[in-house]
């Protein structure tokens, strides 16, 4: 059956290595364009907030970092599920590739949050629901990373990290609803799919561009890292050796 064939293809690191290159270039170019446009728009053209003045421009980096750090974790949870149930090799590669960028992005969300909190709330750090659950997200990322470094057996390493990644996804709805469950300093979402935004378009449009830009950057970064992981794991195989002999293009990052 073709579905089964596709499934087997999807699980093959070699197949991913062969098809991923144009996607990585595409996401990279899109990220560069979107982030450049978004930063200039957000820093120079977006109107000042009548209460926060110019410090609200931090939103354009803080919100995308926080959003994408959660999405990357969710993606890792899905990969964990696939690895756990079907033992798909590529899912293990994906988990490994999500970790470094996820850690950096979550740390960035916490840092920019603190920097934004200082002029807005009068404190660098506040133990409110969303801040704490984001800190838990960072610890989950670091925990899985440490777990993978500690376990030498590849089979066990994959299954253990897949399990923690899956269980940890419980934290994602907690982050999302933390602003509704506990009364906190964090404001509830300004933009939702169902309601009208509480911000004017001149303010939320650059945010949308930045969010898309960071998503593209994440896709670029994670897929590139998956390729490095794949070559590491398969360096002894015939197809990698053949590739290294025939493929003498100048070294690129794709």
């Amino acid at each position: 059956m073709w579905i089964k064939e596709l499934w087997h293809k999807l699980g093959s690191p070699r197949w991913f290595y062969q098809i991923s290159s144009p996607w990585i270039i595409g996401f990279g170019v899109a990220a560069l364009v979107l982030l450049t446009v978004g930063v200039v728009w957000g820093l120079v053209y977006a109107p000042q907030d009548y209460q926060q003045g110019n410090s609200f421009r931090i939103m354009y980096v803080h919100v995308p970092a926080a959003m994408v750090s959660q999405s990357v974790y969710l993606g890792m949870g899905v990969a964990g599920f696939v690895l756990f149930v079907w033992r798909m090799k590529l899912a293990d590669v994906a988990i490994a590739a999500c970790l470094p960028f996820g850690i950096m992005l979550t740390a960035l969300a916490l840092f920019t949050g603190g920097v934004w909190g200082r002029p807005t709330w009068g404190t660098w750090w506040e133990w409110d629901g969303r801040t704490v659950s984001t800190l838990v997200l960072l610890f989950l990322y670091i925990g899985i990373y440490a777990l993978r470094e500690a376990i030498l057996d590849t089979e066990l390493r994959g299954r253990a990290s897949a399990l923690v990644a899956m269980v940890g996804t419980i934290n994602i709805p907690i982050i999302k609803y933390s602003v509704d469950w506990w009364s906190t300093l964090h404001q509830p979402a300004s933009i939702t799919l169902t309601d009208k935004p509480t911000m004017p378009p001149e303010m939320w449009m650059p945010l949308l561009v930045m969010v898309l830009g960071i998503y593209c950057f994440a896709a670029h970064n994670i897929m590139s890292r998956m390729r490095v992981e794949i070559l590491n794991r398969e360096s002894k195989t015939r197809w990698v050796r053949n590739l290294m002999v025939t493929d003498t293009k100048p070294i690129q990052n794709v």
Binding site: G53, V61, F111, R118, N221, V228, L231, M244, I251, N253
Partner: protein
């Protein structure tokens, strides 16, 4: 759309919030550039190594003193 700032110094000052705005944007650029370049260097090192390995494995006759550096990335 009009720029919100008249002069460069006004832009840099961000209405007194310059420190916070530039710390945030600076750290973001640092994280993104760091993620990009660290991966790029890792990839370069890896390809040099793998290509060197492949060249020594397949061309046993012409065993010259190849090293990842002197093979010029090919």
């Amino acid at each position: 759309m009009v720029p919100q700032f008249e002069t460069i110094s006004e832009f840099l000052a961000m209405g007194g919030h310059g420190l916070y705005v530039w710390l945030s944007y600076g750290s973001t650029v640092l994280v993104l550039a760091g993620s990009y370049f660290s991966l790029r260097f890792a990839r370069q090192r890896q390809l040099e190594q793998l290509r060197w390995q492949a060249s020594t494995n397949t061309s046993d006759q012409q065993q010259t003193a190849h090293s990842p550096k002197s093979s010029n990335g090919v």
